[in-house]
Symmetry: C2
Subunit: 182 residues, 2 copies
Amino acid sequence: MSLPHAILTALLEKPSSGLELTRRFDRSIGYFWSATHQQIYRELGKLEADGLIRALPSEQPARGQKKAYEVLPAGRAELARWTAASQDPRPHRDPLLLRLRAAAVVGTEGLEADLRRHLELHERQLAEYEEIEKRDFPPGRDGTEDRLRHLVLRAGIDLETFWTGWLRHALEDFAELPDEAT
Amino acid sequence: MSLPHAILTALLEKPSSGLELTRRFDRSIGYFWSATHQQIYRELGKLEADGLIRALPSEQPARGQKKAYEVLPAGRAELARWTAASQDPRPHRDPLLLRLRAAAVVGTEGLEADLRRHLELHERQLAEYEEIEKRDFPPGRDGTEDRLRHLVLRAGIDLETFWTGWLRHALEDFAELPDEAT
DNA sequence: TCACCTTGTGCAACTAGTTGCATAAACGGT
DNA sequence: ACCGTTTATGCAACTAGTTGCACAAGGTGA
């Protein structure tokens, strides 16, 4: 149950409308907690009903009109509670590794091309993260907030580094595999 | 939609009953595609209804009686099709990183202990993987199946290596953070 | 022999996340 | 004045995954 807390965090960083949140979930926050605009609108409704956020007063709250939200004290308290509470790591699910294991039984045909494609995607993501690091975290700054945000970005960079490394290794291995007739 | 394919793979490796599958999903396969016994029973029902697997003939197919399944040719074909088909990487979701980001806004209280706990869990998992590697993949074997399975295990090892490394780094960083009053 | 535990199978209800579509205002061109 | 696009919000239906419980058979000990 992390989506509401992701939204609370985003709104604390900056009060936003549904669409603005959606955009931010396509970038920064979404790198480790993605969400579609429908999820976000639905959740904003719930959070408002629960008294954790409120719509900022605006002109006409009509449809097709921007409606920005801000976090209420109760929302901040809930986020603090959730952040401090111990949580188990969620089970890990990865279709690509599953396909590799399936390939051991039914043959590797077609897989190699997709590994190559994944490698490219991860390389692109890694480059993007490194761009952000260069831009937002030049050496020398070390406020607490910066440190924590940098740590999160580091996780992203290290994770993509792992994937690109592993995929390259996998492709080398594939190259050595005997040609097969599935 | 990977669960049926995970089950097909498992059944091709060895025909099994629902409970046996559940056990195997708690170990090997479950390392990168976890599933509960209810998911598995439900899916076995669907796969049988779709003609991809069938129950092995047994004595009394009563309740509380083992019922083993094997993969039919149509099931193998479906698995091969799925394995070869190109798939996009699924969006990544990680509550721990989310909490770190939230902590940048509402304070780090309570988080450090959980980071420590996660580090321990990942260290344990890493040790388990390395144990398996030593046992199942001694140097020198290199059949195609072994190579692929070893690659999958390598991904697990590298992933846990990333996590333990990152968590250790994060904890060092936490130690340097100024004490705070949230 | 009967209460209890373990093994094995399964249903039902719920929560989370995705997909497809609808609606409405604002803006820009023609 | 009208048409099409972009921006913004939202509903409804679906798929995937989780949780809680029920039921049956067989074994174990008192």
